[in-house]
């Protein structure tokens, strides 16, 4: 594995190796001294063209716990806002000797472009690109699902096991969601069954080629499908306005049809857990009752995110030779 660009690129074996490594990383995080020397002397650049404090902090924490040097490059207040291109930014970072570039970009495919271009010799990690992919989010979701639903509850002993037999409902704005795309592919690879639930306007044309089921009725999926986990996607309020695309008539109607509230929580199987990639719109796609219930694992997802990102950086960088500063050659 040279880069992590898309959940679709991960084989069953790759995915399990990352999850198992994440389990080992998580175990080290229970120690008093959390820092490992593994990536000492390596440089990880967080290249964020789009605001995302959570994801950036998660990657930064992961890199620092592995003793890597971290450079945060955010588009705001940088030369990018003055019109510098992705290419020039990448060449600059390359000249500074980045071993890995963690990129968040509003354009779908920007990490692919970066990885294929030769502008950087480092490993490229996709930290979310447009409405395309967010593979580390899917990995941390899979890790969280496995911890809770596979083997002994709450233990890390699920190591080596996949998600075979689980049913996961992913609810919300699938059309604009890189989280949904990544999860459909990864959870399928790991043997889970996925049902996407959304109003028809928020399901992409072409979804029929995806390895999942699609439903427009959340209540039917909860009652008939008995999902082991339900993953709520963020829905932007702007999507209802005509300039935002007019995808649904009102936030209230959306909540009635697709929001997770106390009533729907009660209909879920008792063991079912609730996930959300954050940030949440309380009162829109998820009520406070659901978000704060003891079956919600939303805060734990954040912690697992660090372990999973440590695993990804470790697997991409450990054993690789540090990149030389090629501009000096």
């Amino acid at each position: 594995m040279k880069h992590l660009l898309s959940a679709a690129d991960l084989t069953h074996e790759d995915a399990l190796r990352i999850l198992d490594t994440a389990g080992q990383m998580a175990a080290t995080q229970a120690r008093e001294i959390k820092k490992l020397p593994t990536l000492r002397g390596r440089t990880v650049v967080n290249l964020f063209f789009e605001d995302s404090t959570r994801t950036r902090i998660s990657f930064e924490t992961a890199a620092k716990r592995l003793s890597a040097d971290v450079i945060n490059f955010s588009a705001k207040g940088s030369s990018v806002s003055k019109g510098e291109s992705l290419k020039d930014t990448a060449l600059t970072l390359q000249a500074m000797g980045a071993d890995a570039v963690v990129i968040r970009h509003q354009a779908s495919g920007a990490p692919h472009t970066l990885a294929a271009s030769g502008w950087t010799h480092g490993a490229v990690v996709n930290a979310g690109d447009g409405t395309h992919q967010h593979p580390t989010q899917a990995l941390l979701d899979a890790y969280t699902l496995r911890r809770h639903l596979v083997g002994e509850r709450g233990s890390v002993d699920a190591s080596g096991r996949d998600l075979h037999g689980l049913h996961v409902a992913v609810v919300g704005d699938v059309l604009h969601s890189r989280v949904a795309r990544s999860n459909v592919q990864l959870l399928h690879t790991l043997g889970a069954r996925v049902t996407l639930v959304a109003p028809p306007t928020l399901v992409p044309v072409g979804v029929e080629a995806w390895p999942c089921d699609v439903s427009y009725r959340l209540d039917d999926v909860i009652v008939d499908g008995k999902p082991d986990a339900i993953m709520m996607l963020r829905v932007q309020r702007e999507r209802m306005s005509s300039t935002g695309g007019g995808f649904f008539p009102s936030p209230l109607e959306y909540s009635r049809g697709y929001g997770l509230d106390a009533r729907r929580m009660a209909s879920l199987p008792e063991h079912a857990i609730v996930l959300h990639p954050g940030p949440m719109n309380r009162g829109l796609e998820i009520s406070a009752d659901a978000a704060d219930s003891d079956r919600a694992v939303i805060v734990e997802q954040v912690a697992n995110g660090v372990a999973v990102r440590m695993a990804v950086l470790y697997l991409l960088l450990a054993g690789e030779q540090p990149t030389t500063n090629r501009s000096a050659e």
Binding site: A8, S85, L86, K87, H105, Q106, A107, S108, G109, A110, H112, T113, A116, S117, D129, G130, T131, H132, Q133, R178, R181, P204, V205, G206, V207, E208, A209, W210
Partner: protein
């Protein structure tokens, strides 16, 4: 002026004969013609002679974007592609929406001398879609504009489209529509379907083209005008045009070389070389446009040659410009997809790349039969040659060809504009433009 004797060429791929070009016209056709004194003989064995190609849809970028292409560089590329005439699209800066600008383009084309340049006039002022440009003034200018288009943008307002269709009847003009419903394609990046869903790129649905094509053929029927559909790209559009023609509606349609051969699957690598408008469609659409071209539903192949500077393609997909070059590969793509597959003859190629576009554009002296007394506009092609496309080696100022590294059949060996060689042995005759000045 040099006299050329083309020995043993195959006109339209048919029986070998000699063709004599003298004083700007086809002076004689027959076997074993006697060479006049000073005549340059060209060994035409294995070469197909076609009437000089006519492109109804070229972006030459001048005035305004001379960093991407100039009239001189674009028309030189055209000559190398076998063309003797091109229609220069109106989306320049300033827009070709006045007699002054179209005359400037026409003069620059004459000065360059590689091909005849026929400027396309904008339908609306500044391509704004609101107010008709002075179509009559452009028609009566030295440039004699007959084709009007807001290409790059759709004349989406039905009333403006209706008025334009009606108005150009006065001078036998045609409205060439870029069929793209704007609301259905806001922010669109590629064909909407299985691939866009996976790649997370905003979709450009087929219906956004088909809805406009359907509306426009009905408008053309209602007001009895002539409509041309630019770069038709979907199976549904082929069906609509077929239906319209069966009703006797005066509509013509074009397909680009790239829509005859490439599909949306190529977007998977996020390489903006494959970003084009209308977008690359599915294999089913490719099959439908080939079928439509073969059965005459689609009248012509036009390049939509759209050069862009390197920086506009050397970036992330969403930030990249739409468009690809095509003048120097068009004939090869048509050979590969239509001739080598047995769907069309070379006579059909002459129709879709020369006589039909000349007729639609109401261009005199081009797209004529290869017959004695006709203007000596023709091109010689070696259909047995194969070549690997190297965009850097092309004459276009831009390198955004989607065919780089791909092997294509056919090679343009020579091109003649009114008896003067613009291309010989596959190389441009750079001194040749002098006598046009």
């Amino acid at each position: 002026m040099t006299t050329y004797l083309l020995r043993d060429v195959s006109p339209l791929g048919e029986a070998r004969t000699d063709i004599l070009l003298a004083d700007g016209v086809v002076a004689a056709i027959g076997s074993a013609l006697e060479a006049p004194q000073d005549a340059v003989e060209i060994d035409g064995r294995g070469l197909v002679a076609l009437p000089g190609l006519v492109d109804l849809h070229t972006h030459l970028r001048e005035p305004g974007r001379e960093d991407a292409e100039t009239i001189a560089s674009g028309t030189r590329a055209a000559a190398l592609g076998g063309f003797t005439a091109v229609h220069a699209m109106a989306n320049t800066t300033p827009t070709q929406d006045t007699a002054g600008v179209v005359e400037q383009v026409w003069h620059l084309g004459r000065r360059a001398g590689w091909v005849d340049v026929f400027p396309v006039g904008a339908v609306t002022v500044g391509l704004g879609g609101e107010r008709l440009a002075e179509l009559g003034a452009m028609a009566e200018s030295e440039a004699r504009v007959r084709v009007f288009s807001d290409d790059g943008k759709c004349v989406h307002d039905p009333v403006v489209m209706r008025r334009a269709l009606e108005y150009v009847k006065a001078f036998d003009g045609v409205i060439a529509q870029h069929a793209q419903e704007p609301r259905l394609t806001e922010g669109s990046q590629m064909h909407e379907g299985v691939v866009s869903a996976e790649l997370g790129l905003a979709g450009w649905p087929a219906v956004a083209e088909e809805a406009i094509v359907a509306r426009d053929v009905l408008l053309a029927e209602h007001v009895g005008s002539r409509l041309h559909v630019c770069h038709l790209s979907t199976a549904g559009s082929v069906e609509i045009v077929r239906w319209a023609k069966s009703r006797g509606i005066d509509v013509t349609a074009e397909v680009t070389p790239h829509h005859l051969i490439l599909t949306d699957e190529l977007a998977r690598g996020y390489d903006p070389l494959f970003k084009v408008n209308p977008p690359l469609r599915t294999q089913r659409d490719v099959e439908a446009v080939r079928e439509g071209l073969a059965d005459g539903t689609i009248d012509i192949v036009a390049t939509d040659h759209a050069p862009h500077p390197r920086e506009d393609k050397d970036c992330e997909w969403a930030a990249a410009a739409f468009g690809m070059t095509g003048l120097e590969t068009a004939l090869s793509v048509v050979q590969e997809t239509m001739v080598d597959t047995g769907r069309m003859t070379w006579a059909d190629v002459a129709r879709v790349l020369s006589s039909a576009p000349a007729r639609i554009g109401r261009v005199d002296g081009h797209g004529r039969p290869l017959a004695v007394g006709e203007p000596a506009n023709l091109t010689l092609v070696d259909p047995a040659a194969r070549r690997v496309v190297r965009p850097e080696a092309q004459a276009s100022k831009s390198v955004n060809s989607p065919f780089g590294g791909r092997e294509l059949p056919g090679r343009v060996v020579a091109t003649f504009l009114r008896g003067r060689a613009t291309v010989l042995d596959g190389a441009p005759c750079d001194g040749g433009s002098a006598d046009a000045r």
